[in-house]
Symmetry: C2
Subunit: 414 residues, 2 copies
């Protein structure tokens, strides 16, 4: 591929885990890094300046959504997504494939990516052509808009063209995302098609050029479901193509153990020098598991979505929280709507340096949530994004010191 | 009354209009000033820092709402509203009376304060005891919570006690707010009761002291509906009591002409040296009318509420906007949801120095509103608050230069 402003340097490697710097035309990203999601060209409820103040380095926006509304041509007329949304740091867009399948088909299958994802919204979920929402063929995918039911077609070429218009620093190859409900035969056929789409995405990327005055980088996506044989084949195939980086996508199984296995099959077969992105993971345990298995970046809606529901992330919950909670959803979270916070004049997390914790009490946040005031979601989002930045900062520090396992034990126990 | 950190200086007077400085324990306010509304201890959707950056000097919060949720004692435990909501500039609370009447009774009468107020939300509207929502007696008012239907009683003493707990710099005497549908006899009886409540509010204010380490100031409220004889009587009575300032409240008639008449009857009878607040006015024409008739401050939900509906204030609408619009609601507004802005890369108002206009296009704002993204309401609120600050800045400059009438003609025509 031609020279670009994009690059990746590994400074330290401890086992598979690595400390690195991702270089993009809009600045660098210290890795491992969490990638906040701004689906519709906005991290919901927060200004870009407030997002940046949390330490967020890289945002993820969704081609499917922006294609449907406001249209990639509107974004292009602004000079690309950075200018459109006033975020002048690195950006990543997905190919649109994931939402094509998930928004059409997750409704039908009712299956999320891993057990602890909230139901009812777009997740890394199976697709189906059973009800005519999504029709997959060799050329691409025909789907209906979740907004107005209109029919659209995405192909690898179309996806790359749209991502050229949007102008993120990092763009993704077009892929099909299979479901835990698909058998090995279907998953293999789908993976092989995704490999052909990867080659077409690369060819289209090479044949086109940036529209906005700076280079873009293209990541390939490893698929293969929860099948070892397929993941290994996909890692070898995608890892052998001249992508700038590699994303691991698709069905990662039913929980953290399955996800760990998928990464353990995949990562050793990937090229050493390229950055690796894990799609859709962002809980504390998942982040540690991914970093320890060699992933450099990971995006997830969980921190921002749970903030809007009043679930504030914390590593130092009150004793009564821990006692009251069970299950994976409850870990590291404080439900600010709880009546016990009605008169609590402490910050959300004692010791947190975020704007929310510096300026407001739990009682005030609870009041905002009970009174349905948008500022509550805004302040909670700021805290949760800062929580992720602080967590990843500590992970990078621990990596530099060779103490990641100790940090994991301190944070997660066991 | 005892000495306090509160004071008002008039620097220039042109006719009845005056240029002044209001001094409070939390800083000064250059008058004439628009007062932004933060009903539930938040200017909806915007952080206090963002509000301050628009040039807003003084915020208005509602005792009725904060009494019901989170409770005045919760706010008091924080050291008062300033700390609770992280707004460290001047604050004003109303007495709770207005909402007691309006939230109970406006539902029934369907009458807003002036013709251009949005329907369906709390406005300066008539009360009724017909359905048991609101029962007015000599001692005070019994009402039901709009949140859970529970029964509560406000008296002048209770209102002052709650406002002591909330700790705004400026607090209001407890009053009854009559409706355009009330006849002169009822309006007179109500006004006379309000006068007795004014004396009781003053006595309670004198008998109590600040809970939070700084002095508060108490304004009396002139009532009397749209009846000249009553307004004159009320102005003389309230103006003769030792309040720190005077608010003009209640039914101001059916439009700007009625409001102008009420002010022309009232203001000449008020003491010269005290600041004057007009309750519930904030449209461009109303602001000019109020300033020219001697009012110093005025609060209104319109700029922030219309922002959340996508109505952006501007003095320089596009020609096509002017052509497309009719009626008082349409003046000085741009409906950002209009399809004509879908690809419009200009700022909301060319020449505006607000954060929104400096950083975003009309197309991006339209996208946010169409996609139901909270950031749209936030950015629109910032613009509209800055619009009001810029308007009042120009009014103060014009007053200093003796050119207010010229500015009014430039802005409003005619």
């Amino acid at each position: 591929m031609r020279e670009s402003a994009f690059g990746f340097d590994v400074h330290e490697q401890r086992g598979l885990a690595r400390l690195g710097t991702l270089r993009t035309p809009h600045g660098t990203v210290a890795t491992p890094a969490f990638v906040a999601v701004g689906t519709q060209a906005t991290v919901k409820s927060v200004t870009p300046e407030a997002v940046a103040a949390t330490g967020a380095q890289l945002l993820f926006a969704n081609t499917y959504h922006l294609y449907l509304r406001p249209g990639a041509e509107v974004v292009a007329a602004h000079g690309g997504l950075h200018r459109f949304m006033n975020w002048h740091r690195p950006l990543l867009t997905d190919s649109g494939g994931f939402q094509v399948f998930s928004l059409g088909a997750s409704i039908e299958h009712g299956v999320g990516k891993v057990a602890n994802i909230f139901p009812g919204e777009a997740t890394q979920a199976p697709r189906s052509n059973g009800r005519g929402f999504v029709k997959v063929g060799e050329d691409g995918v025909e789907f209906r808009s979740h907004i107005d039911g209109s029919t659209h077609v995405f192909t690898p070429e179309r996806s790359i063209g749209l991502q050229r218009q949007l102008g993120a620093d990092i763009v993704l190859a077009f892929d099909e995302c299979t479901s835990p409900l698909h058998d090995e035969a279907y998953t293999q056929a789908s993976m092989e098609r995704t490999h052909r789409w990867a080659e077409r995405s690369l060819a289209e990327f090479e044949a086109s050029s940036s529209l906005h005055g700076y280079e873009q980088a293209l990541y390939g996506i490893v698929q293969g479901g929860a099948f070892r044989r397929l993941r290994e084949a996909s890692a070898a195939f995608i890892g052998g193509l001249p992508f700038h980086g590699i994303a691991v996508g698709g069905n990662l199984g039913k929980g953290h153990d399955d996800m760990k296995a998928v990464l353990e099959w995949t990562v050793p077969l990937l090229p050493e020098g390229k950055p690796r992105h894990l799609l859709g993971i962002g809980d504390v345990e998942g982040v540690f598991a991914a970093v320890e298995r060699g992933m450099d970046t990971f995006d997830c809606v969980m921190p921002t979505r749970s903030a809007r529901a009043g679930a504030l992330l914390t590593l130092s919950p009150d004793a009564e929280d821990v006692a009251a909670k069970t299950g994976v959803n409850a870990r590291h979270r404080l439900n600010i709507k709880n009546v016990r916070f009605a008169g609590d004049t402490r910050p959300v997390e004692v010791g947190c340096d975020c704007y929310t914790c510096a300026s407001y009490t739990r009682a005030y946040l609870r009041h905002l949530f009970k009174a349905d005031e948008q500022l509550g979601q805004q302040l909670a989002t700021i805290h949760n994004l800062r929580f992720m930045s602080r967590l990843l900062f500590r992970i990078r520090e621990a990596l530099a010191a060779g103490a990641l396992a100790e940090l994991r034990r301190e944070v997660l126990g066991g």
